[in-house]
């Protein structure tokens, strides 16, 4: 059972962690060589113009002042404006976050659906099916996601020419085109996790199948599939639920690479572009959102785990 105190405790830790993350990020980024203002100006611009703009943007103030300014604004919900484009960081995030979320969600769904194969592997333990599935899963964790993407592009995009090799279409607005653009990126992103989850499902299923209550069920005379489905499966999948949360969080990181390969306008690409142009406000904003997402996912995962597993007491 979960005590309310524990929940509140964890919830309170989130803003503190966020604060620490944002301070670290802020200082780290400002230590990076490279000047966003120079990068944002045409080649003919004079040093005076550059200095003027720097002043206008407040980039010449000392670190702590810049940070506290940013922090106050952030708490009001204003994440500032991009140095490169002048756009509001909030707007940029709102535009791009749903794209990455769509990608990560689709990839997660794929990985969970595929992982059910692990059940068969467990049932046919140490038989051919099991070995084949395990071999595929080992290959799955050995292929880097960008290579999987490139292979898919070569096969479906260039060779067969049946799928588009770049871009993103909102599946809610145009389901067919949206799905066509999502298929390859989602598979590339989800491959690793499909393999990992398969192993986990198999292992968890094996554990369950060897437990007493299963033998009891069998002794009762229930048919095999009933034993598996009703008693085994549900319990076996519980640990997976909590792992999926972590995988989702990791996928947000993996999507950075996939978004590059498939030119998908999500948060990952935004981050790379911002890092290349030293666009501090954008970098801060993205990492803040990402940080919040993780902390929330971790928190919910822990909570979920506590609810599901009656043995854990907080």
């Amino acid at each position: 059972m979960i005590k309310a105190r524990y929940v509140i405790n964890r919830l309170l830790q989130i803003p503190i962690s966020l604060l620490i993350i944002s301070i670290l990020v802020f200082f780290l980024i400002h230590l990076t060589p490279g000047d966003p203002v120079e990068l944002a100006l045409p080649p003919g611009a004079s040093r005076e113009l550059a200095n003027q703009i720097r002043q206008q943007l407040g980039l010449d103030r000392p670190f702590h002042e810049q940070y506290t300014n940013w922090l106050f604004n952030a708490m009001k919900g204003d994440l500032g404006k991009s140095i490169q484009t002048g756009e509001k960081v909030n707007d940029m995030l709102i535009d791009r976050l749903p794209v990455t979320v769509t990608l990560a969600t689709t990839a997660t769904v794929i990985s969970v659906v595929v992982s059910l194969v692990g059940v068969f592997a467990a049932i046919r333990f140490h038989r051919k099916t099991d070995y084949v599935i395990m071999l595929f899963s080992t290959i799955g964790i050995s292929v880097p996601n960008f290579f999987a993407g490139i292979l898919l592009i070569i096969f479906f995009g260039v060779f067969l020419r049946i799928l588009p090799i770049s871009g993103f279409v909102n599946p809610l607005k145009d389901p067919i085109e949206g799905m066509r653009h999502l298929v390859m990126p989602a598979i590339s992103l989800g491959l690793l996790y499909a393999a990992l989850h398969t192993r986990m499902v198999r292992s968890s299923m094996l554990d369950i199948l060897n437990q007493d209550f299963i033998r009891t069920a069998r002794a009762k005379g229930l048919r095999e599939y009933q034993v598996i489905l009703r008693h085994g499966l549900r319990n076996a999948l519980l640990p997976i639920v909590t792992v999926v949360g972590m995988s989702y969080a990791y996928m947000l990181g993996g999507s950075i690479i996939i978004e590059q390969v498939f030119a998908i306008p999500g948060i990952g690409r935004l981050l790379i572009i911002a890092v290349t142009s030293r666009d501090f406000p954008v970098i801060q904003g993205v990492l803040l959102i990402v940080g919040i997402t993780f902390l929330m996912i971790n928190f919910l995962t822990d909570l979920l785990y506590g609810i599901i597993d009656p043995r854990i007491k907080y």
Partner: protein
């Protein structure tokens, strides 16, 4: 034989043994063979890669830096068994040299993270209390952050290079070792021999490093192989993004990035560096799986 239904654990195996008793000769043979075969395949491949890496300069390979732009991305021929890269250099030679980069970055990262993570884990698991809390809080913070993001951030600050990648990866993977060592240490320090050592008056350091550590080697080794595999993939990813090893150094990830332009005209070109990565990582994983099986005490019984 007919379809054999789910194999039930035999009467002796009550304690969560996963081993099933094979019912056919074929199954028996197959299981033994598999255990030897796959892990050995992995080990041998790794060995070959290692040899490539070490012996590369002595193999009489064509130059990997001299360019000949008229021979950009040519198909495989006798002279160039895998063709040439976008600058006209022999692809096979670059892949072999690439093994050096991948393996050295991977091993250094694993080594450094072990160097940092093992002591941290020992301290946390042994002394517990506040120290444990603080250390683990820190480790968890790093651990729950996607490695790629952390690595990119560090690389952005320190500037992209092989060295930076090693540092970034070491930071990212330290928590893994810390956690593994900590849980093993927690378990071990309840055992008799530790308690008696303390009763005798042995110093904490002595106990930790001389008594506990050797017993924790198993999980550490397993973790090391897993981490090695991840390190190679992450280094390739960073180099692919241009944030890792810089040209003209031959990193497999970098070569894959250079090859992207040729997907239309020379689709085989991107496949080779990618395949190199897959083979290396697969070898490590197969070997690691075998290692894990061998080291798992539960599975040594009931054979």
């Amino acid at each position: 034989m007919g379809r054999v239904k789910l194999l039930m654990p035999g009467p002796k195996e009550f304690s969560g043994e996963k081993r099933a008793i094979p019912h056919t000769q074929w199954a028996l043979f197959w299981r033994k063979f598999r255990k030897i075969a796959l892990a050995k395949v992995g080990a041998i491949t790794l060995l070959m890669l290692g040899l490539c890496a070490v012996l590369a300069p002595y193999l009489g390979l064509p130059s990997i830096t001299e360019m000949d732009l008229s021979q950009s991305a040519t198909p495989p021929t006798w002279l160039h068994p895998l063709g040439t890269d976008s600058y006209g250099r022999d692809l096979l030679a670059r892949l072999i040299y690439g093994a050096r980069v991948s393996l050295s970055v991977g091993l250094s990262s694993v080594g450094l993270s072990m160097l940092a993570g093992i002591p941290l884990g020992l301290l946390a698991g042994y002394f517990r209390g506040k120290l444990d809390s603080i250390l683990m809080r820190l480790m968890d913070a790093i651990f729950s952050f996607p490695p790629i993001l952390l690595a990119i951030a560090l690389v952005a600050i320190l500037g992209p290079s092989a060295g930076t990648v090693v540092i970034a990866l070491s930071v990212v993977y330290t928590p893994r070792f810390a956690r593994v060592v900590r849980s093993s240490t927690l378990a071990e320090s309840e055992l008799e021999y530790v308690l008696s050592a303390r009763a005798i008056g042995a110093s904490h350091w002595r106990i930790m490093f001389i008594q506990v550590l050797p017993n924790v080697v198993g999980p550490i080794t397993v973790q090391a192989t897993v981490t090695f595999a991840y390190a190679i993939i992450t280094e390739a990813s960073l180099s692919f993004l241009g944030l890792g090893v810089q040209p003209p150094s031959p990193s497999w990830g970098l070569m894959l990035n250079e090859a992207r332009m040729y997907i239309e005209d020379a689709p085989y070109y991107p496949i080779f560096p990618g395949l190199a990565i897959v083979i290396a990582v697969l070898a490590i994983n197969l070997f690691g799986d075998g290692l894990r099986d061998a080291l798992d005490p539960r599975q040594q019984r009931g054979e």
